[in-house]
């Protein structure tokens, strides 16, 4: 049952992608429907449905947080680059994450690369090694906040 549900959700998402790629051309809809169903079935063989599913409200909350903070990240990096003194204090920081293995950890690592001042370098088990632009900033608190939002997404 979970399998059929996942197949339906994935087919629907792929159809949206197809609709966007063909810019809503009705002549391509039939081919798109066939392709979406096939790709959804193949994707289930490679990536079986994994629990827990991300929760919609918490996912939107994380998306909002991510959008705002990634704008801050761009402005922050631009400000440093345009300053004649080039204010940087680069260094490594190892963060131990409490997130579950798999998607939650990967999402955190990838999101952090686009958030202010952090770049994920390695992820070994629950140890996430970050490169920081300015180690005098409260990087640890920023990472903990992003982690908190992702933990809420995957809270079973």
């Amino acid at each position: 049952m979970a399998y059929a549900g996942s197949a339906a959700v994935r087919t629907a998402l792929l159809l949206v992608v197809w609709w966007a790629l063909t810019e809503g051309d009705p002549g391509a809809a039939g081919f798109g429907l066939g392709a979406a169903v096939l790709v959804a079935l193949v994707s289930l063989r490679f990536f079986p449905p994994a629990a827990p599913h991300p929760r919609l409200a918490a996912t939107l909350a994380f998306a909002g947080y991510f959008l705002l903070r990634s704008m801050v990240a761009g402005v922050d990096v631009a400000r440093r680059l345009l300053s004649p003194r080039l204010p940087l204090r680069p260094g490594y920081l190892t963060y131990t994450t409490a997130l579950a293995e798999g998607r939650p950890r990967w999402l955190l690592a990838n999101a952090l690369s686009l958030l202010p001042g952090t770049l994920s370098v390695t992820l070994r088990g629950d140890e996430l090694e970050l490169h920081c632009l300015d180690t005098s900033l409260p990087v640890h608190e920023d990472v903990a906040r992003a982690e908190h939002w992702i933990a809420r997404m995957f809270a079973g």
């Binding site: 949206v16 992608v17 609709w19 966007a20 790629l21 063909t22 810019e23 809503g24 990634s70 704008m71 990240a73 761009g74 402005v75 922050d76 990096v77 631009a78 680059l81 345009l82 080039l86 940087l88 680069p90 690592a109 990838n110 999101a111 690369s113 686009l114 202010p116 001042g117 770049l119 994920s120 370098v121 390695t122 090694e129 490169h131 632009l133």
Partner: protein, 103 residues
Amino acid sequence: MSDTLLLVLQALLLVTGCLFFAVGTLGLFRLPDTLTRIHALTKADNLGLGLIVMGLLPAVAGPATAAKILLIWLVALAASATAAHLVGRALRAMEDGDDGSGP
């Protein structure tokens, strides 16, 4: 009147977006090492692309084209985060003395 205002806003968003791309590229020249350069490229280009996408959205033909532009932005985000992580990991592995192809 409001058409003109929208046009000005769009132009502003597009120009600001391009400026962020330029600043990201400036980072390639000003910054001292690979990792700090990746910081500049991923973050400044991400914001630059976001601004350009917002500037283009009011001008598209229909919702499907808007979705396509948003999709491009989303894929570019995922690609830049993944590429940044892969370059960082390979670099770290080289410092540790292997070839960076490990898990």
